[in-house]
């Protein structure tokens, strides 16, 4: 079957244009409606979120009010932790002399007596020790023992002199040793705790 359009060409073109316009209008209306719907959805989303926000904010305010009742307890906890943290930081720099001196005592040979001993954590040499003993051998034994200790380093034999006590006939060897602190405590070290423990193992 053959369709023959007998409309005049002008009318035909007008109809086509009208059809095209109609479809364009419908597309535009659909687009506008879609955007309008999007606007409505956004509005409802906004009201939902605002309602949730109001609830959450009031919950926070309520919780804060409850926490305010225990503010003293919080301040106490904060003060305790602050002091603990400050202590830890100070202890990192602090020398635990009881441990250091105990290790020094453990290193002293039987025939060594101290006369003067100075320890200064901020000035090298950290230790100056003057004492007396029977022979140089004892001083060197003492020096070796200190060098093997985890607490001391740079042990230097400074001087020795033979003296005779007025009341005694036996001669005494006066000596001076200078050395530095290597580790400030069993837990805190100057040159590294691992190194300290390694050295401790070696001694054992």
């Amino acid at each position: 079957m053959i369709n023959i359009n007998l409309l005049p060409p002008e009318l035909k073109l007008r109809r086509l244009a009208a059809k095209r316009n109609a479809s364009l209008v419908s597309y535009c209306i659909v687009a506008v409606i879609i955007f309008a719907i999007l606007g409505v959805i956004a509005k409802s989303l906004e009201s939902t979120i605002k309602a949730n926000l109001t609830t959450a904010t009031s919950n926070v305010a309520q919780g804060m009010a409850q926490l305010d009742e225990d503010k003293d307890l919080q301040e106490m906890a904060l003060a305790i932790n602050d002091r603990e943290k400050t202590t830890q930081e100070i202890n990192l720099q602090k020398v635990f002399w009881s441990q250091v001196l105990q290790d020094l005592l453990n290193s002293v040979p039987q025939d060594v007596q101290f006369e003067n001993f100075t320890a200064n954590s901020a000035k090298t040499p950290n230790f100056i020790l003057q004492g007396n003993t029977t022979t140089e051998r004892e001083v060197i034994k003492f020096k070796e023992k200190l060098e093997n200790s985890v607490f001391f380093q740079n042990v230097a034999f400074k001087s020795s002199s033979l003296t005779k006590d007025q009341n005694q006939e036996a001669e005494k060897l006066k000596f001076t040793l200078e050395f530095d602190l290597e580790q400030k405590s069993i837990t805190g070290s100057v040159s590294g705790i691992n190194q300290g423990f390694k050295k401790m193992k070696e001694i054992k």
Binding site: G63, M64, D70, A79, D82, I90, E115, N116, A122
Partner: protein
């Protein structure tokens, strides 16, 4: 006119869409975004508050928190408390049969300022206890003291141990020991001169975070195990004040 008609329809639609976007969608989206951010923040705050409540509830189960707080604030007090320091040091020495021959206190100074001085004064030192400035200890003040003691060495060792566990944080910087006995004798008497510092801190420098209000058992144990030596001065209960002639012997 018919040629322009589709163009006009298109333009009107675009204008309508733009009006909807500019006056409805854009402000709503902006408001939703802002509210969403606020909601997120509020929810996170709510979570923090809940966690904080739990921590506080945990703290409430320990009735010794006020006592521990007092101990901590005595360990590093807000003010220099040099009087209590004298009492503490003297009591530690006395409890170990050491005689305090001399004692002096110096004006408290900022720990950080002192650190700088020490660093510049002895740049070659191998052991510099104050080479780095720790943040929490930055607001700490030092109360310097020096003491001259006499007694026996074994008691001096106990004195050092007790200073390390005393109820006041004390750091000894220098020790000078001199034997009193003639060389070769068995008498162990000696003189000791020590210099050190106690610490004070005016403000709490930790921020109010969840981590900072949790108290570990280790911290509790540590503060509870500190030993107090000197009895603190309590003026309202101390008697024996008022003399008609203070130049008379007492």
């Amino acid at each position: 006119m018919t040629k322009r008609k589709p163009f006009l329809i298109f333009i009107i639609s675009i204008i309508l869409i733009l009006i909807i976007i500019v006056f409805v969608i854009w402000p709503v989206v902006a408001s939703v975004w802002k509210s969403w951010q606020e909601l997120k923040q509020a929810q996170s705050e709510q979570k923090t508050v809940e966690e904080k409540k739990q921590i506080i509830a945990g703290l409430k189960t320990n009735p010794r928190i006020p006592e521990i707080s007092q101990i901590a604030l005595k360990y590093i007090p807000k003010d220099s408390e040099s009087g209590q320091l004298v009492i503490e040091l003297t009591a530690i020495a006395g409890s170990n049969s050491l005689k305090v021959e001399e004692m002096s206190m110096e004006k408290s100074q900022e720990a950080s300022a002192k650190e700088e001085e020490t660093t510049t004064a002895s740049p070659q030192t191998s052991v510099n206890p104050t080479a780095t400035s720790p943040p929490a200890a930055a607001q700490t003040k030092e109360v310097d003291f020096s003491m001259k003691l006499s007694g026996e060495f074994i008691n001096f060792m106990k004195f050092l141990q007790e200073i390390e566990t005393s109820s006041r944080l004390i750091s000894i910087n220098t020790i000078a020991l001199q034997s009193k006995a003639p060389s070769g004798t068995e008498v162990a008497a000696f003189d000791a001169q020590i210099e050190g510092a106690a610490f004070s801190k005016k403000e709490v420098s930790l921020t109010d975070t969840l981590e900072n209000i949790k108290i570990s058992n280790e911290t509790i144990e540590k503060f509870l195990n500190l030993k107090t030596f000197g009895q603190p001065i309590n003026l309202p209960t101390e008697s024996g004040f008022g003399r008609s002639n203070p130049f008379e012997g007492y």
